[in-house]
């Protein structure tokens, strides 16, 4: 079992997700920049969305940005009951043409989170990628 997993991950480079999550935990985003056209992707992309190239170089991006849209969930999926109400947020990253989304605690009404609020990546746990207001 161990050997099979090793071969699989080596062939397809699936360790990228773990690397991505460990970077998220330090408040940063591991993006992949296409070596051919420069297009930026989140680390979990394996082929360039713009030109189809498979070569990437790491681009470590500061996990800070602006809230571009969100919702406040009052009828949650299983596992999130104890957190409701909470926000699910889409954030545009500063200085990069890239957005990332995640979970934000302690948002009870739209007055708590006007569009344009500055926010940052705050970690990763059983709630998913965590984002908090700056």
């Amino acid at each position: 079992m161990q050997a099979a997993q090793f071969i699989y991950s080596k062939v397809y480079n699936l360790a990228a997700k773990e690397e991505f999550i460990s970077t998220i935990k330090s408040g940063k985003i591991l993006a992949r920049k296409c070596t051919k056209c420069g297009y930026l992707h989140l680390a979990t992309t394996y082929f360039c969305q713009n030109c189809g190239n498979k070569g990437f170089e790491n681009a470590l991006i500061e996990g800070k940005g602006t809230v571009v849209t969100y919702t406040i969930i009052t009828v949650p999926p299983a596992g999130y009951e104890k957190y409701a109400p909470y926000a699910w947020v889409v954030m545009k990253l500063d200085g990069a043409n890239l957005r990332i989304s995640g979970f934000m605690q302690n948002i009870k009404s739209p007055a708590d989170l006007p569009l344009g609020t500055k926010a940052r990546i705050a970690g990763y746990d059983e709630r998913g990628i965590l984002i908090e207001k700056l």
């Binding site: 997700k17 979990t44 969305q49 571009v68 849209t69 969100y70 919702t71 406040i72 969930i73 009052t74 009828v75 949650p76 999926p77 299983a78 596992g79 999130y80 957190y83 909470y86 699910w88 889409v90 957005r99 990332i100 989304s101 995640g102 979970f103 009404s109 739209p110 569009l115 709630r127 998913g128 990628i129």
Partner: protein, 384 residues
């Protein structure tokens, strides 16, 4: 390519149904077969769209349905594309008939989930999202469309009351549809006062979780002419995709797959949006209908709000949208919805839509997508 036709359609009532997933799928199939005036043995393949058969203890539905129809030898397959499963399945059926592999096939869509309750459906539907970023970070489907809604309201200076107008209009249409799930007249005030599900969307902005089944008979023109005069032609078929996660899309208020699928369907039909007499579109939430009707080219970006305020999308408007009541009022049994839309167009164009008939309609369009529009199919039909 063979010219492809739809010669029969059937649907169960949509809503909370007691019968099993197999029973309702078979009922809709029998209704479609009888509507077409064919014998089951004339069916050469079955296309079955379903997402959560597991909830009613039956997956691999095809052979079970075929056996119940007395044609166990006929091949079938199951297709899952979230809420777009029905139209994607129809497209595969269409392509196989167009290519000449089959003369006549059955496409049946079915879903049976209401017995599982709101938490189960909210949770399992969230698995249709790009789970790592969305469902796995607490986003429900109402939440994802609510995020599109918040961006839309801010960008185009629209209000929550504007969204409510879509629900009111679709409920008005659904009142005229005996098979609709929510047959109840509502007002803007009712929508505004309903409980918030995922801000800014409230309960009455959301389609219901429904059980139901729909089926159509698809065949080549020679087969159609040999069996009936009452049929419609498929004149356009298009499919498209979008980045699975909302965060990856160029615009948060446009669904790329709809535009790609629509352009392909219009091109095949040699038509433009102005030529469409009415459309059944994917209004899983009120905001979706506004976005859809812009992405389909009926209105410019940001202008669907004005159209709804002016009543242009009502049953007697310039471009009636969702005469059936749409997902909002007719209901949304997710595996059946795309087939149900085509059944509605069949009824409309063959004089079987009763009180909700769109006057003088000759050309109808269906638009159905999976998840937040990560996958989409658009079809255009013409009366003969």
């Amino acid at each position: 390519m063979e010219r492809v036709c739809v010669i029969g359609a059937g649907s169960t009532k949509y809503g909370k149904l007691q019968d099993s997933i197999t029973d309702i799928a078979v009922q809709a199939s029998v209704d479609a077969i009888e509507s077409a005036g064919i014998e089951p043995k004339e069916i050469q393949a079955g296309y079955i769209s379903n997402v959560f058969g597991i909830a009613d203890k039956q997956v691999h539905l095809g052979p079970v349905i075929m056996s119940n129809l007395g044609i166990p030898e006929v091949p079938s397959l199951s297709i899952e594309s979230a809420c777009g499963s029905g139209s994607v399945s129809f497209r595969e059926a269409y392509a196989n008939v167009a290519a000449g592999f089959y003369d006549a096939v059955l496409a049946t869509g079915v879903e049976k989930v209401t017995h599982t309750g709101t938490e189960w459906t909210t949770t399992y539907f969230s698995y249709c999202s790009d789970f790592f970023y969305e469902g796995g970070a607490g986003a429900s489907f109402p939440g994802l469309f609510a995020s599109i809604a918040r961006a839309y309201l801010a960008e185009f200076k629209a209000t929550e009351e504007d969204l409510a107008l879509v629900a009111v209009k679709n409920h008005d249409n659904g009142l005229l549809n005996p098979k609709a799930h929510l047959r109840k007249k509502i007002t803007v005030d009712d929508v505004m006062k309903s409980a918030v599900v995922a801000s800014p969307l409230k309960l009455y902005d959301c389609c219901p979780f429904s059980d139901g089944a729909s089926a159509v008979i698809i065949c080549n023109e020679k087969f159609a002419k040999a069996h009936t005069k009452n049929y419609i032609q498929v004149i356009g078929s298009g499919r498209g995709g979008s980045p699975a996660a909302l965060q990856g899309r160029e615009h948060l208020t446009t669904i790329p797959s709809t535009k790609i699928a629509a352009q392909a369907a219009y091109k095949m039909a040699g038509l433009t949006p102005k030529d469409i007499d009415f459309a059944e579109v994917h209004d899983c939430f009120t905001i979706a209908e506004l976005v859809d009707t812009e992405d389909l080219g009926f209105f410019e970006k940001g202008k669907a709000v004005d159209a709804v305020r002016q009543g242009m999308t009502k049953l007697n408007g310039a471009i009636p949208i969702n005469p059936s009541g749409g997902l909002k009022s007719k209901g949304h049994p997710i595996g059946a919805t795309g087939i149900g839309q085509i059944a509605e167009v069949f009824d409309q164009l063959t004089g079987k839509a009763g009180e909700r008939t769109v006057k003088d309609a000759k050309i109808g369009l269906t638009h159905n997508f999976g998840a937040t529009g990560a996958s989409c199919a658009v079809h255009i039909f013409k009366s003969v």
